[in-house]
């Protein structure tokens, strides 16, 4: 069980947009946290900073006692790799390798542990690795689609494959960036159910960015609200306050603060 703590994290993009304005919180191991906030509140940027896909401008992010920001800045590959092995990501747009098979996509979850290029692909991989990938695929209920190309699957199925990829990676922390925003309500529910079941049965820490309040309250243990890069709410899900919530999605947001065009995919 590894702790995750975030201290005074700021992120300013080269074009001057400030995505994060001194965000601080500590996540307890095994906690199911939902990051809430409208588009541009900094949810995505924060998750990307935790995994090191983005380098925060200042502050500290400790994953397993390693400062990710420091590791990124010093190009400390080993430290960054240790962080990444422990933080699995689920993306809004799935990010599968579309013209490869489903099983191969799951197998790529273990790339961080694979040095030999021959073993990266399902033809050359060790039998037990292939069996594990198959088991992960079975866990998300898609074992029968193992041989299909990833781009022949529906959105919900693709997100399940992406979850199987995270299972294969076997991290302690799961970072989910709007995992159901590209899905219809029904398959969105199914994906959330599956993600939370898996997180619970493996006792993983999860930080999930969402913008649907209802779903956030239903699944999260703890809700953290972001607005323009600041934490404006941090509360257990069962003690949520209507005032705070309305503040989170204030209509005057666009007027009081200049537009922060974020949720960047650089």
């Amino acid at each position: 069980m590894i702790p995750l703590s975030i201290n005074e994290v700021c992120k300013e993009f080269p074009d001057g947009t400030r995505a994060l304005n001194g965000v601080s919180f500590t996540i307890n191991p095994g906690e199911g946290t939902v990051l809430l906030g409208s588009n541009g509140s900094g949810k995505t940027t924060l998750l990307r900073c935790i995994n090191g896909l983005e380098t925060a401008t200042s502050g500290q992010i400790y994953v397993d006692h390693i400062d990710v920001i420091e590791a990124k800045r010093r190009h400390a590959r080993k430290a960054l790799k240790r962080v990444r092995l422990q933080t699995g990501m689920v993306f809004q747009k799935f990010h599968l390798i579309n013209n490869l098979g489903v099983l191969q996509n799951v197998l790529f979850g273990s790339l961080g542990r694979t040095q030999n290029p021959m073993k990266m692909f399902s033809i050359g991989a060790a039998k037990e690795e292939r069996m594990r990938a198959m088991a992960c695929l079975d866990r998300v209920g898609l074992a029968d689609l193992a041989k299909r190309r990833a781009d022949t699957l529906s959105g919900g199925q693709r997100q399940r494959v992406a979850i199987a990829r995270v299972l294969m990676q076997d991290p302690q922390i799961v970072l989910a960036d709007e995992p159901i925003a590209s899905l219809d309500p029904k398959s969105g529910r199914e994906v959330m159910d599956l993600l939370w079941e898996i997180v619970r049965e493996r006792n993983l820490t999860v930080v999930c960015a969402l913008h649907q309040l209802k779903i956030a309250q239903e699944y999260g243990d703890r809700l953290i609200g972001l607005r323009c890069g600041n934490v404006v709410m941090d509360t257990p899900a069962d003690r949520i306050d209507a005032d705070q919530l309305s503040h989170l999605y204030d209509d005057d947001q666009s007027q009081s603060v200049p537009a922060v065009p974020l949720e960047v995919t650089p």
């Binding site: 933080t87 790529f108 961080g112 995919t265």
Partner: protein, 261 residues
């Protein structure tokens, strides 16, 4: 502001006018030195008729020799393209913004590839004939270098256009650079790489035909000999065979392309 714009616009059109005059001058001079007079064109037509009357019927007595020479030409194109494509893969990775280790390496690689591409293949063939002598080896090297310039550029452009998503997904698992290249970049770019490579083979077959003219092996040697000995009937046989091989190769590559993409 408006005035400034107008003035700048005027300057630009002034330059454009000067450039246009120069190009017009070059064009007229070109027409003048070509002496492309109607009389010359007419007499040319007459001689073309002479060529055709001597070329038809085509002489098939040496067809089997030509067949082997064409096979050599095709093999030169194939081997040269395969070498060029294989060399292009690492070169394209070094030349692309998103995969190059740093800007210096990227700029050096990109400029080298650009320089290689500016030199026409016939010039490379002349150089390689001097370096390693007459024959198919010079042709293969020429085609490999020519394709390095061509595929290196197109592969690199494709790599730079790739969506960052799959690459980020694999990076986020802790994958090494090699893992990301083999797992995300090559698979995502694969259909485009295949299409470019097939086009490169087609292009190389046509180019290999001509390379023989400067002694770099293949059917071009036979064609040039037949023309010089005024054996137009043999030349026609060769031309028809070239046409068949090029058409056939285009058909095959279209089929492969359809299946891969």
């Amino acid at each position: 502001m408006g005035e400034q714009l107008r003035r700048r616009g005027g300057g630009a059109s002034g330059w454009g006018g000067g450039g246009g005059l120069i190009i017009l001058g070059l064009f007229l001079h070109g027409v003048y030195i070509a002496q492309l007079t109607p009389e010359r064109l007419l007499s040319g037509m007459g001689r073309l008729g002479g060529f055709l009357s001597q070329a038809i019927p085509p002489d098939l007595t040496r067809a089997s020799n030509f067949f082997w020479a064409i096979l050599v030409t095709f093999e030169m194109a194939l081997v040269g393209t395969v070498i060029g494509v294989l060399l292009s893969l690492p070169v394209a990775l070094l030349a692309s913004d998103n995969t190059s280790p740093n800007r210096l390496v990227r700029n050096i690689t990109r400029n080298t590839v650009a320089a290689v591409r500016t030199i026409p293949d016939l010039v490379w063939a002349l150089i390689f004939v001097v370096a390693i002598g007459l024959g198919p080896a010079a042709g293969i090297l020429t085609i490999a270098v020519d394709n390095l310039g061509f595929c290196g550029r197109f592969f690199s452009e494709r790599i730079e256009e790739l969506e960052p998503g799959p690459v980020e997904a694999l990076s986020s698992t802790g994958a090494s650079q090699l893992g990301i290249i083999l797992g995300a970049i090559f698979p995502c770019a694969f259909p485009s790489f295949v299409a470019t490579s097939l086009y490169a083979v087609e292009k190389s077959i046509r180019s290999a035909v001509v390379l023989g003219l400067v002694g770099a092996g293949g059917i071009g040697v036979e064609l040039s000999t037949s023309m010089r000995l005024f054996r137009y009937d043999q030349a026609l046989t060769i031309i028809v065979m070239i046409w068949l091989v090029v058409t056939a190769s285009e058909q095959v590559s279209t089929q492969i392309r359809r299946r891969v993409i």
